[in-house]
Subunit: 262 residues, 4 copies
């Protein structure tokens, strides 16, 4: 390569994403007036041809979101589930490649179960974001199995999970448990506990400066408008707990409102 | 006794009660124009001297009220208890002799227990009025013993009790279970069930045309005004369930408002 | 009718049942030596033509047996169920017409439910024998719904049922609840309670002089011989509670051993 | 110091413990034939005068034993408690200085609580031995609070505790939960679960090669001999669960049998 003895380079590397070009890296060389300087510069340049694709790859890597929860989340990845619906929404908005949505829900899970399986099911997958949606079974299993979660233990194990996620620099959003029964006069058997445990989650979000997806409140507000007969199901749920089609879309919307800002 | 041959009697018997005199019995004889008629009349009169005191006694017999319930009612007959307080209120109003207040509360009782002991503890005592105050343990024992009462069975056994009381011509008032925890945001563990079982009792009162003492509603209204910190106790209760001094007076007032009209 | 002036009648009425003829009624008249006596006798005879068929009908009426219980008994009238199997056994033994077997089992029933529906489902059907098979849900619902039955209430309502059945001259047999889990080392969760409630039923049988069908003991004995791996199901049950084919036959046999002697 | 020019030292340091002298450290010098060598040796010797007492101190340090459990262990450090009794036993046997017994029991604790507080209450105290005595509340709270421990979670959190203790080179012994009720015919309500959870603990001990203090079995054996009336308490417990004087001595004996060999 025959180069003039005095010159400088300007190199601009742009990232093309979603049809838009945005400058990623600009290099303006000093005036290069010696052979050795030039050689060094060219060496850097060559190096950059290998590293830039890596950087670009990293730039293109979608945000990995893990939905960490119970049977409601387990059903979220089935056709019509709230995670599937969220994926469809992203596709319509041309954001399909920006996010990778991973369901990590197991039926019957309580906060203890999330704690026990978080290494394998969350940390090992190196997510950028984790949305924790737990609490229904912690309350429900008191009556149905005698093995619900004490309030103090719910908070302590929740905190232990948050600590580990934050230590791994993972962004976290917290959901309140939506409903066990959709009656709006607080006459569903578990309403007292759901209100209490939801408040504990709100406090955890506040204390840790984390975004909150307050499904409990959102479901109640929706039912106050759309459940005039005070029915216990079939508004947002099929069986008082698990989401019907409207419910899946509703949860997808509520989660996306928070997720897009994370 | 020397009587004129033609005359008639007018006899008026009055009842003196609470300082007021009200006519109880008036007898105007026909014109008596024969000795035999007179004798017969005098015989009746003599008889009446024996029977009138009996009638008067019956008139003076206080209204017997049985308070039929659980530990809250059991505590109601202790110093400062709501039944004792109601007795004091009656005394101040000069109605002490008009009512006989009998506590029939046993700790831990559920609707099943009331059903089982109603012959001995209620019917055998021939009350005029029964105030049923039950439901806390039907709900609470679900979590504390695993032996709470199914909603359908609560209604069926309650109805069986009402049927027997009404068959014995006993007037009945129904109370809703006030509270297990005084927090006003429906975050007390048993709020869902207490709301549901209270509604079932309201429906029973309505269906059977019986007066309702809606302690559940009254306690909540009171706490909304007087429990700004959302405390779980020490407003009307000592321990989330049993009444403190204010609570005992509050229940006495609520019950008397209904009882005086029965 | 032209009759000799001196004679007597001998009338024998036999009952034909299951191919055997047994004398039911024998009448030997005195020597009839007057017209009036004869007339009187003939009048009696005529009367008997109307009454004997009634007596015969009563004789032929099968023993009506009601099986009063929960889902295990509800399944007993399905193909392969223990009541169906008992019917087949009776048929083989030529006793089909001697017994009428009626299932009165409802899933989820506890002693309270039997008490509430005994008028409609038992007394109204005027059975000769009632076999009570209850207790599994009284114990199980403690853990699964929080609405199990307190031991004292189990005994009191059981006694109330026995009292009503005995007042109606109905013969009664009592069953102990067989199993919730078939492990033989008493490590099934409800073993403690099943043992306790079974003992209460044994005491009730003894105290009231009633036959006992001790399924709890029989199942354990059978499992000790036939469940070497200490499995929790699939020996006599399909799911730890409800009977498989062997279990249905086993219960039919156990019940018949007692029923045939009642 | 005037020393011969050729010589060697033999130094023996003995440890005096419990009245016995045992050689701890023996040093036989080479033949010392130079001044510099001698000086060096003397320097070492001087050093040893400072270090040996430290070594000796370490030798004398008692074995630190932490009793890690619930209210039964919390009561163990009160007068007459099983830990106090064990201390008295050690004193009688002249072993008082060999062991340091530390109670770490908190009322109502379940396996989750032990897991949560093991850093502060166990690891931070650097014990040599930990005796884990847990399980009663894991079973009992199913019925009394609806917040018992699922069997799978009991095992998983127990294993997590064992893993952390073993990582810290702490010797561990496992106890089975003795009793909730002393009846010997397995008719105590929680017998099924206590048998199951005890078996899980036996399996954990076996799997991890750890000593087992099988209090469940020991209590049953004792009661079979000493509880002829099948009483539910007052043999080894005061209230079906907590130890009476005989019970405290019994547990102290059972634990010492295992502890002395650890």
């Amino acid at each position: 390569m025959n180069l003039p003895s005095k010159y400088h380079f300007k190199i601009t590397i742009s990232v093309l994403s979603s049809g838009r070009e945005s400058p990623y890296f600009t290099l303006m060389s000093n005036k290069i007036n010696s052979k050795s300087k030039m050689k060094r510069f060219l060496r850097y340049l060559k190096l950059s041809f290998f590293t830039i694709p890596l950087l670009a790859a990293q730039q293109d890597k979608p945000i990995r979101v893990i939905f960490f929860g119970d049977s409601i989340t387990q059903a979220g990845v089935r056709p019509g589930g709230y995670i599937v619906k969220m994926g469809e929404m992203l596709e319509k908005q041309g954001l399909k490649d920006k996010y990778e949505l991973i369901g990590a829900g197991i039926g019957g899970n309580k906060i203890y179960d999330l704690y026990l399986r978080m290494e394998d099911d969350v940390l090992a997958k190196k997510p950028d974001v984790v949305i924790i949606y737990i609490g229904v079974n912690d309350v429900w299993h008191k009556a149905s199995h005698g093995t619900g979660t004490d309030p103090d233990k719910f908070v302590k194990f929740y905190e232990a999970i948050l600590k580990k996620l934050q230590a791994a620099n993972i962004r976290v959003a917290l959901c309140t448990p939506a409903a066990i029964g959709e009656r709006t006069d607080f006459s569903n058997q578990q309403d007292g506990d759901l209100n209490q445990y939801s408040q504990m989650i709100r406090n955890l979000a506040k204390k840790n400066g984390l975004p909150l997806i307050d499904l409990r409140k959102a479901f109640l507000d929706y039912n106050l408008k759309n459940n005039p007969n005070n029915d216990e199901k079939n508004i947002l749920t099929t069986d008082r707990v698990h989401l019907n089609e409207v419910g899946n879309q509703f949860v997808a919307d509520e989660m996306w409102r928070i997720l897009k800002g994370m």
